[in-house]
Subunit: 408 residues, 2 copies
């Protein structure tokens, strides 16, 4: 935790707050937000691709059609019109569902929090891919679970490892994975592993949390079926409009069995009563038209070019021994450096050289990943990405030379 | 909990979910939302008082000034411009603050949830006024506290009872109260009790959670100083724009010491990353102009007339032996009937007679309040209120006759 001045309540905080840390990394990111720094750290979508006029137009529609009732409290499950509309969005990825099984949340992040809240008692075991989305880990950690970490390779989560753990007698409350262009690894769970994961978890009666924010940001190749499509009963599916429309409306959702839905709604009401009817209706109207498709195509095309720029620049500037993933979609490249690198220790030097990234340790519950880093290509322009990677490459070269001179 | 069909996960849910109940009352409220039923149950503000044009105008301003950056992720603490603006709003009630000490939340409800999250370990004692806002109880209960209930009378929380408990050696993690026109009792903590509460808690180093959604909805009399004003260091103050603007923007906040703020921000980020930049900026622009004052005056005037209509009708229609509070502001009248009444059992009959209320039991952690009920005058028109109270009065008369015939 960052330094507190005098804290009169220091003896009163709950145990879970000791795991909520405002790290050095956070302080560095504050510096990294200066314009001269190329940030390859944040996962901000390129919302500039959405014309303001499209937004104002749907706001106008919402006020015309719903009046000030769009400013009222709504039900905890989310506006019925939006839930219907989200069915159409999921259908684009082959997921069939009923609006009764959808709970609208404040981004998919809140779905992670509420899922943790309804499943995790302190000390419970949960299985997560490793590395995993840092926001999932912080959401779950508030409920003080133990973690079973399942390694990831270029085909996604190594399901064999999960199987071995189950054979050993481990009984996780659920398995968490981001199977499409996952955050942070940028890899996609292969079809055979999808089938293996789904049948393994079904047999063991362990629900799967499928987190799918990036599925519609595919640059090439054919989409694979969602886990939810392979087993609608045992998979809790999480979606968001943050990447196809806007994070600023804070609209995500969970799709689950009725028994889970009812508990999620109660947990949602306890957490914040209801989402914003206003932004739910704006989102519904945006997705009702056809303009979102063109805007999404622009986004995907933009991200593809940025991904290409990043991979080319990495190829050119990174030292021998560095390895990285080749994402077919999404926002992230995951870099594994030789083991002696310490990306957390190196971050200050990187920011000094006007480039930022997220150290690998953030994505493992046990602090592994010291020699890894996540690079986001979603937000900076191609030129900025090339510049940032060149700066980072030169830092890595210098670090390597220093290391070689000390370990000849 | 409502009936579940087959629940494959029944053995997997966290212990806290057993306290999350979708009660019969919830099912009745679904029926009570039919137009022929006068609902004196819900606490929905009269948002119709806000002209749609005022909303469209501020949305236009936000898009003009901020462009699509209003659709982007923001920091966990909330947009700086809004936090500055909220200082001016709090100043209207005499609360002085610094924008650094404000955390914007999804309504004040999320501030309750996050406060519970950072303070409560399972089994910890917390003190709450009794009756207390049901949403505070459900938020806190997710963290499995024990409750110390402090009774309320027409001058608010009986602080002597808290003092006695402290003398007995009870050590609550915090004290929760809604001191202005509280939900559900409609009463206001008197000035002497404010001083007593603040000095008692300061000496004992027990933080006070001051929940103040209704403070600006005063119908008569002079405002009393907020607890936060009496002790800025030991009071965590919760506010919301739900009652002065719109619940649909989902903007509330906590004002607290830096040490608490930092933990709340981390808990907020774990819960949903950030609020909606869009609705935060819309709220900021709405409060920046002067039109909100006129709209608020309209609201207060409307609520005052509805309160008067309700009190007159209660006086006319309720049986001898019924007692009720005389709220000088806010949304609620709290009714205490002779002890043999069971307002929960009676609710189905009330809905059948086309009137709904909230049974008193909802507002006590231990299920007391069987002979009490909360009546909300905020939403229905005066005529509907008179009609609803007449229906309820005739039901109470009939119940009383039945009781007398059985207990002659």
């Amino acid at each position: 935790m960052a330094e507190f001045s005098i804290d009169r309540f220091v003896d009163l905080y709950a145990h879970r707050t000791s795991g909520m840390s405002a790290s050095e990394v956070r302080a560095l990111f504050a510096v990294a937000s200066r314009p001269e720094v190329v940030s390859l750290a944040g996962g901000m979508p390129y919302v500039q691709a959405i014309p303001e006029e499209d937004v104002l137009e749907v706001v106008r529609q919402v006020l015309d059609e719903h009046g000030t009732s769009s400013l009222q409290y709504g039900g905890g499950q989310g506006h019925p019109a939006l839930r219907e509309r989200l069915l159409a969005l999921m259908a684009e990825e082959g997921v069939e569902a009923d609006a009764e099984d959808v709970v609208v949340t404040t981004g998919a992040q809140q779905a992670l929090d509420l899922t943790g809240k309804i499943f995790i008692d302190a000390g419970d075991l949960i299985a997560v891919e490793a590395p995993a989305y840092v926001g999932a880990l912080t959401a779950f950690s508030a409920y003080e679970p133990r973690y079973l970490q399942i390694d990831v390779d270029e085909d996604g989560m190594k399901v064999d490892q999960l199987e071995e753990a189950l054979v050993r007698g481990e009984r996780p409350k659920f398995v968490y994975t981001c199977p499409n262009f996952g955050n942070p690894a940028g890899v996609t769970l292969s079809y055979p592993r999808r089938e293996q994961l789904v049948s393994l978890c079904r047999e063991a009666s362990i629900p799967i949390i499928e987190d799918n924010p990036y599925g519609m940001l595919r640059f090439e190749g054919e989409p694979l079926p969602c886990l939810r499509t392979l087993d609608p009963e045992n998979v809790i599916y999480l979606g968001t409009v943050s990447k196809v429309f806007s994070p600023g409306v804070r609209v995500g959702w969970a799709l689950a069995e009725q028994s889970v839905v009812q508990r999620l709604v109660l947990a949602k009401e306890a957490a914040d009563l209801c989402g914003s009817a206003f932004t739910m209706l704006v989102t519904e109207r945006y997705l009702a038209g056809d303009r979102w498709r063109g805007n999404l195509e622009t986004l995907v095309e933009t991200y593809r070019r940025r991904r290409d720029a990043m991979l080319e620049a990495i190829e050119e500037h990174f030292p021998d021994g560095a390895m990285w993933t080749l994402p077919a979609g999404g926002f992230y490249v995951w870099v594994t450096l030789p083991e002696w690198f310490d990306t957390q220790a190196m971050l200050a030097a990187a920011v000094e050289r006007r480039v930022a990234y997220v150290p690998g340790t953030a994505f493992y519950p046990d602090g592994r990943g010291k020699h890894q880093m996540r690079l986001a290509f979603c937000y900076p322009t191609e030129d900025r990405i090339r510049e940032g990677i060149a700066r980072l490459g030169s830092l890595l070269e210098d670090e390597e030379q220093l290391y070689r001179s000390l370990h000849p």
